[in-house]
């Protein structure tokens, strides 16, 4: 069977879903094009400003797209490509799409306030605190997972390692010249891209071979420094130059796939049990971002909701962007499934999901003449660069949550824990300590935390819908499923991690918090008082 068929199937399914189920959601929720959105009523010139629907869709999609929908599906391909593909389809349509669109909608109807506020209103103060805790834990797991994944990638593709190190230098130089010295962005970009290409070339000549542990320590040190330095030195230049890498990779990848038309060789379904994992529940917590991701609600309610021009755009931006992410996840599964099971296992074992992905895309790009080694190294660099920037921002955000959580002093004097270096240190140590446990163990934990975050958002959505007398099952049924999957997964993980204090701690912590969350859910639903919300 040809992999292009997968993209075709996905596209058709998503299109139909958008037109039918998306419209159904809009109708049942009462999306009202005649209502003025907060972007208009609360226009403050900076955050609350209306944006045209397609522009907002593009912006929102680029915010939610990342390494997650790539790593997840590839990691889950050990169960065979069919289960993963089916879950991407069903998950995006009935779970992730509902979650994203619902989070966006509830935020718009609550004056564009962030999801935490909505949770505070619908579930209560405890729900709000839970939200912050879940977000924080998920961020720590992101740090752990991504550090591990990047280190893996550097070991498997040392050319990309060299290029990445050089990239840091290029970014700093770019930052100094363009932001401080006033070199024009255009000239800076041309020189920057040229230097990037040079870095990739130098990478192929001088691959940097270091051990995995060495890389992890270096990466953790890098994250610490990067997340406390001013944004113009590293974060901003990296973010900008990354985009060139990313777009080149996406174009190359798509063109390559279309030229090569690879056939699927991986087993459609392998078995229910692979190694220590069972298909249920592990498929779901591994694919995670590819089907439903709690993080999307942060983006949606953090910025997007404040820019929605008209309520009718919510379906396009919220539901639509998740479906496009589903296409991205499909592309990822293709890179895992066009090679045979043996090759897949080999690549996965050598360097993790990024190794599989970069090999795949690198292979596709040979169809128009790019040498395999260069292509693979380039893709590995692009993904790692992306992951490194994610690590920087994740550390910053984790630090912000930590600072706000520990700001207990009423006297106005800051508690020492809110010092940026102390809180960053704690974040990096915790995340880093986890990172050493290997991505195979961390990723399902990350997936579980992310799904619990999503479950909390679905809960808020469900409660709010119920309170205002609207149909809520489309939110609560997925929520219950998320709970079931995550609880079972966490129990399995607890037993699997018995030998490991840190992993065990995280598994248990997440499990307990999940129970607390379920109790909150029960309490919120049984509250008979019907607050009439718009």
């Amino acid at each position: 069977m040809n992999s292009l068929l997968l993209i075709l199937i996905a596209s058709v399914v998503f299109l139909v879903a958008y037109v039918t189920y998306g419209a159904y959601l809009a109708k049942k929720w009462g999306i009202d094009p005649s209502r003025k959105t907060p972007a208009h009523t609360m226009n403050d010139g900076v955050d609350y400003m209306p944006a045209k629907a397609p522009v907002l869709l593009g912006h929102h999609f680029s915010s939610i797209a990342g390494a997650g929908p790539i790593v997840g599906p590839i990691g889950a391909a050990i169960f065979g490509w069919v289960p993963v593909f089916l879950w991407i389809l069903i998950g995006s349509v009935f779970f992730g799409g509902v979650h994203d669109m619902g989070a966006l909608f509830s935020s718009v109807r609550h004056d564009g306030k962030s999801l935490g506020e909505v949770i505070g209103v619908t579930i209560g103060k405890n729900g709000k605190k839970l939200f912050a805790i879940f977000a924080w834990l998920t961020l720590l797991l992101v740090i752990a997972a991504f550090t591990n994944i990047v280190a893996n990638t550097f070991v498997a593709v040392p050319e990309a390692a060299t290029a990445s190190v050089l990239f840091i230098a290029v970014a700093i130089v770019f930052g100094i010249f363009v932001y401080r010295q006033g070199v024009s962005l255009a000239i800076g970009s041309i020189i920057g891209v040229a230097l990037l290409i040079l870095s990739i070339y130098l990478g192929t000549l001088f691959p940097l071979q270091l051990g995995k542990t060495a890389w992890m320590i270096i990466l953790l040190g890098y994250i610490f420094v990067a997340s406390v330095t001013p944004v113009w030195i590293l974060l901003q230049p990296r973010d900008y130059l990354n985009s060139f890498l990313l777009y080149a990779m996406l174009i190359g990848g798509f063109v390559g796939v279309i030229f090569m038309r690879p056939a699927i060789q991986l087993a459609p379904v392998t078995s229910f049990t692979v190694g220590k994992s069972t298909l249920f529940p592990m498929l779901f917590v591994t694919v995670a971002c590819g089907a439903i991701s709690g993080f999307h609600s942060l983006v949606g309610s953090g910025t997007t909701a404040k820019q929605v021009d008209n309520e009718k755009d919510i379906r396009l931006v919220g539901y639509g962007s998740m479906l496009i992410e589903g296409i991205l996840a499909t592309l990822a599964i293709i890179t895992a499934s066009y090679i045979g099971a043996d090759k897949f296992k080999e690549l996965l074992g050598q360097g993790g999901p990024v190794n599989v992905f970069s090999s795949g895309i690198g292979d596709f790009m040979t169809s128009f003449g790019l040498p395999f080694a260069t292509g693979k190294s380039f893709v590995a660099l692009a993904i790692s660069a992306f992951a490194l920037t994610s690590l920087d921002t994740a550390t910053r955000l984790a630090r912000f949550i930590f600072q706000e959580f520990f700001d207990v002093s009423g006297e106005g004097q800051p508690s020492p824990l809110t010092n940026r270096y102390v809180s960053t240190c704690i974040t990096v140590v915790l995340g880093g300590g986890l990172a050493f446990k290997g991505w195979k163990a961390i990723w399902p934990l990350f997936g579980s935390a992310n799904q619990l975050l999503a479950a909390l958002a679905l809960l808020a959505l469900g409660v709010w819908l119920k309170q205002s007398g609207r149909e809520h099952k489309m939110a609560t049924i997925p929520m219950i499923f998320m709970f079931a999957v995550t609880l079972v997964a966490l129990i399995q993980l607890m037993f699997a991690n018995l030998g490991n204090i840190l992993l065990l701690f995280f598994s248990v912590a997440l499990f307990i918090l999940a129970i607390v969350l379920i109790l909150q859910a029960k309490a919120a639903f049984s509250k008979t008082a019907s607050i009439s919300k718009k």
Binding site: M42, N43, D44, G45, V46, D47, Y48, A51, K52, A53, P54, V55, L57, G58, H59, H60, F61, S62, S63, I64, A65, G66, A67, G68, K113, S114, L115, G116, A132, A135, V142, F146, V178, Y179, P230, V231, W232, Q236, D239, Y240, N242, S243, C289, F295, L298, V299, S301, G302, T303, T304, F386, T389, S390, T393, A394, R396, L397, F400, E404, N450
Partner: protein, 92 residues
């Protein structure tokens, strides 16, 4: 048909957003710093007693246009981690 092409173009404008990627973080910090400056000047509008309020009145011709919108922005700043989450682009 033309509309569809225009929409696709706009999608890429939003997704690519080169200006945003080149300047977004710096713009956010500039905006935050300016809001903090306004806070130190006109904090009395938010009920904060400042020693320099009298002198800050002199700055109204330069900052006054934004004063109302600034007041709106400052109304909900007790917990801003979610606001930052939206702007930081975690991409997991």
């Amino acid at each position: 048909m033309k509309e569809i092409l225009e929409n696709i173009r706009l999608f890429f404008v939003g997704a690519l957003d080169m200006q945003g990627k080149a300047h977004g973080h710096i713009e956010n910090e500039a905006s935050d710093t300016m809001d903090q400056f306004m806070l130190l000047c006109f904090g009395d509008l938010l009920g904060i007693d400042l020693p320099t309020t009298y002198y800050a009145l002199e700055l109204l011709p330069y900052l006054g246009e934004d004063l109302v919108k600034w007041n709106m922005r400052m109304s909900d700043k007790k917990s801003i981690w979610e606001e930052k989450a939206g702007k930081l682009d975690i991409d997991p």
